[in-house]
């Protein structure tokens, strides 16, 4: 049943957000700490566990797959409700602070990704990736 997949996704989502809130409260951060990330890790574990026991038929997977595929349209809808007017009115402080941090971070991403590139591109690595995809 397709709903089993969606329900599994929903349970992981709720549990993850709850644990994120709990973590935030414990740390005194007044916000959710990594709730979505925790939910993602739960879903990955659930998939591996169910797969091993053969409890993950294609129908069930579709119940999750559909929502994963809806991701880009949802992001477009999200973009359509950003406070773009306020962002543009923020003036030079907002624009410069944002631009500066984007540029600094972009350089960092580029440096880190360049620096450790060879390690991910080696042959055994590629084989492991193929093997991982087969599982």
């Amino acid at each position: 049943m397709i709903i089993y997949g969606t329900a599994l996704l929903a349970v992981c989502h709720l549990l993850g957000i709850f644990l994120g809130d709990l973590l935030g409260t414990l740390l005194g951060a007044k916000t959710n700490v990594g709730g979505v990330g925790i939910a993602m890790i739960l879903l990955i574990c659930a998939r591996l566990w169910l797969h091993k026991r053969g409890l993950m038929p294609a129908q069930t997977e579709m119940g999750v797959g559909f929502w994963g595929a809806m991701y880009i349209p949802v992001v477009v809808a999200m973009a359509a409700q950003q406070n773009v007017v306020a962002a543009l009115r923020g003036g030079p402080v907002a624009v410069l602070a944002a631009l500066g941090s984007v540029v600094v971070c972009a350089v960092c991403v580029s440096l880190i990704n360049r620096g450790e590139r060879p390690a991910t591109g080696t042959e055994p690595d590629a084989e492991a990736r193929v093997a991982a995809q087969r599982v």
Binding site: M40, V75, V76, V85, V109, A128
Partner: protein, 254 residues
């Protein structure tokens, strides 16, 4: 007749949003193929159109939620709201290759820390340069440069004025939009091609919305890896902003 149509649409907001976004996607895919010969990803164009619609909505209504403030398109607010966005992001975790994610573990953490501290320093410095020289102002604007959620959460915690909070939200929003639009353009410079590189990017670029939209417009397969790390970004920022970072700024400027 027209009133009847309006009633139908208003009572089925979410369904209208599905149709509207579908239409935006068709237009974007065609523009991508015909105008740019596939060089600019259709999703990137769709996100730009979305931002354009948000601007139009903001001008029309004077509200804060872009197109979703236009009563006819309120459903867009539900479709693109935090609930469905997070639901869809979690669903993408289904495609994560565990081995790939493990490899980036430590680098992801380093990227997260850098992604919080570096934008904060830049934001606080810009604030200082523009004459905001007290610790509260510098911290609030610096936190806004981390993400637009970290800004107001930090500001509220340390007692910043609402004008400062608005400025810090604006900083975070401009950053998110820059990441959304700039990522596909800078993808080659950023070496965004492997799951690991996406996780580094997710940690450093911050803002779940910016990262997820930027990666979606670059390579759909990279989204879950970036989002997995980016989701810890706001939490970490809200944790460090009003505490460690604020104390550091206060120690520096008194």
């Amino acid at each position: 007749m027209l009133e009847l149509l309006e009633k139908t649409v208003k009572h089925n907001g979410l369904v209208l949003a599905f149709a509207l976004v579908g239409f935006v996607m068709i237009v974007s895919m065609q523009l991508s193929r015909r105008l740019t010969f596939g060089r600019v990803h259709g999703s990137a164009i769709a996100i730009l159109i979305g931002l354009g619609l948000a601007y139009w909505g903001g001008i029309q209504t004077g509200g804060q939620k872009g197109l979703a403030d236009v009563s006819l398109f309120a459903g867009v607010g539900l479709m693109g709201g935090a609930m469905l966005r997070d639901f869809a992001i979690v669903a993408t975790a289904f495609e994560v290759q565990v081995e790939e994610a493990k490899k980036a573990g430590l680098v992801g953490v380093v990227a997260l820390l850098l992604g919080t501290v570096l934008p904060f320093i830049v934001g606080a410095s810009v604030a200082w340069a523009f004459g905001y020289r007290d610790a509260i102002s510098m911290t609030t604007i610096g936190a806004g440069a981390v993400t637009y959620i970290v800004g107001p959460v930090t500001g509220a915690a340390i007692g910043a004025s609402s004008e400062l909070m608005a400025l810090s939200i604006a900083t975070g929003l401009v950053k998110a939009i820059m990441v959304m639009v700039g990522t596909p353009i800078a993808a080659r410079f950023l070496r965004l091609s492997t799951p690991r590189s996406a996780m580094v990017f997710g940690g450093l670029a911050g803002t779940v919305s910016g990262v997820s939209a930027g990666l979606a417009a670059t390579d759909r397969k990279l989204v879950p890896y970036g989002a997995l790390v980016a989701t810890f970004h706001t939490g970490l920022g809200c944790l460090l902003g009003p505490s460690l970072l604020y104390f550091a700024v206060r120690a520096l400027v008194g």
